[in-house]
Amino acid sequence: MLAILLSTSVVLLSTLRVQNIAVYLSLFTMCYFASSFVFRPKRRTIDFVGFGLLYYSALYMAITFKVL
């Protein structure tokens, strides 16, 4: 499901000619947390992918909107 969501996001945004990587990363983050919320998978470790996505998408969005 996550694979479908992520590949759909890439196709959708590239069709819309989006050239900002921050937008892609933010949509990936939303897809990731949405699928995690729905399926609630058990994990071997802490959700480091979620933390990383949240951190870097927030950072890139802050730069895009010139907050930083």
């Binding site: 890439v10 590239s14 990587i21 892609y24 990731y32 994990r43 959700d47 996505l53 870097y56 730069i63």
Partner: protein
Amino acid sequence: MDPTKVRLWDDKVLTRLRSREPGKPVASHRLGEALIDIQTIVIVGLMYWLLEEEQSNPFLRTWLSDNFPLGLYLLAPLTVAAISGTLLLLTAARIVLFVTGKNTTIVVGEVLRGLDVLERQLRKLVSTKGTTGSALVLTSFGTALALYSYFVTGIIPLAALGISCIILGLTALSLPRHISGGPGMRAMLQGATLSVEALLEQSTVGRATYLPPADGGVIFAYVPLSLQPETVSINEMKRAPKSLVGDNQKGLLVYPVGSELSRIPEFEEVLSLEERLRYVLVESADICSRVMVEEAGSVIVVAMESADLAIQGQKYLDSLGSLPSSLAACIIATVHDRPVTLVEERKAGDRLIAVFRLIT
């Protein structure tokens, strides 16, 4: 073992116990820490200044393009943001560790030991686990694609595709190897406890001692048939009868539910205690959602989140502990190849805290 230290585990929810109390840092140590943090902040500042300069100074850009093309990629806004963000995150973590009095040397040592273990784990995962090997290949491919597309060809959708491959690969790595638990597994485990429950039903029982498997055998639990602790040697425990034979019997050997856990093929590999507990309790039996282990000398504390305590009967609980703790005791006895006993178990919020003691 000092009981106050055991209590401390509950209060701090298994944050790492330090054997030494955090002492007063000496001035040079503080100065060194401060210098490293200041250097990091200066590096971030310099990177930002270079980025501004590169964007406003065409001569610098031409010079970089002629003499140091890699500099152009390094001074891309998002690269600078990623590097600065990571550095600032590390610095913040260092400052937090310093302020809270935790020894960074110990933390760094743990990280290095973790990396050493990680190398062995990665080799093993690639060679033995098909899905995990595929996840590693996907992550590596995604990294290469993202870097090449972003820095060399400049095609953003392809870079995004690479990032999505990295996300998928890392997600696959973080998921359990298999989930086989559920209501069916719980019902079978409950059934497995009934024979022990029936055997102990008419007796007064004390805390059991889990005996490690001998020569590839099974794990036994010695159940004393009195509440008062008696000094019974390990050899006597091993020779105890496996059924009730008389009134003056001191104890008996029973097969705990986890008696065959020493024969799991994956356990022949170099897996840590925490990894084995996670394999059995979370991934296979699905009777808790997370496991954390702390070892200090002969005392082992295991915290189990959302542990299911309503599986076993009362006698099983009184002697061998709850089923999650009983399974954990079997694994601990196998890993350390020493008898182990459950000292106490109690609930702390959503967690079940079980304290075990290895017997010499």
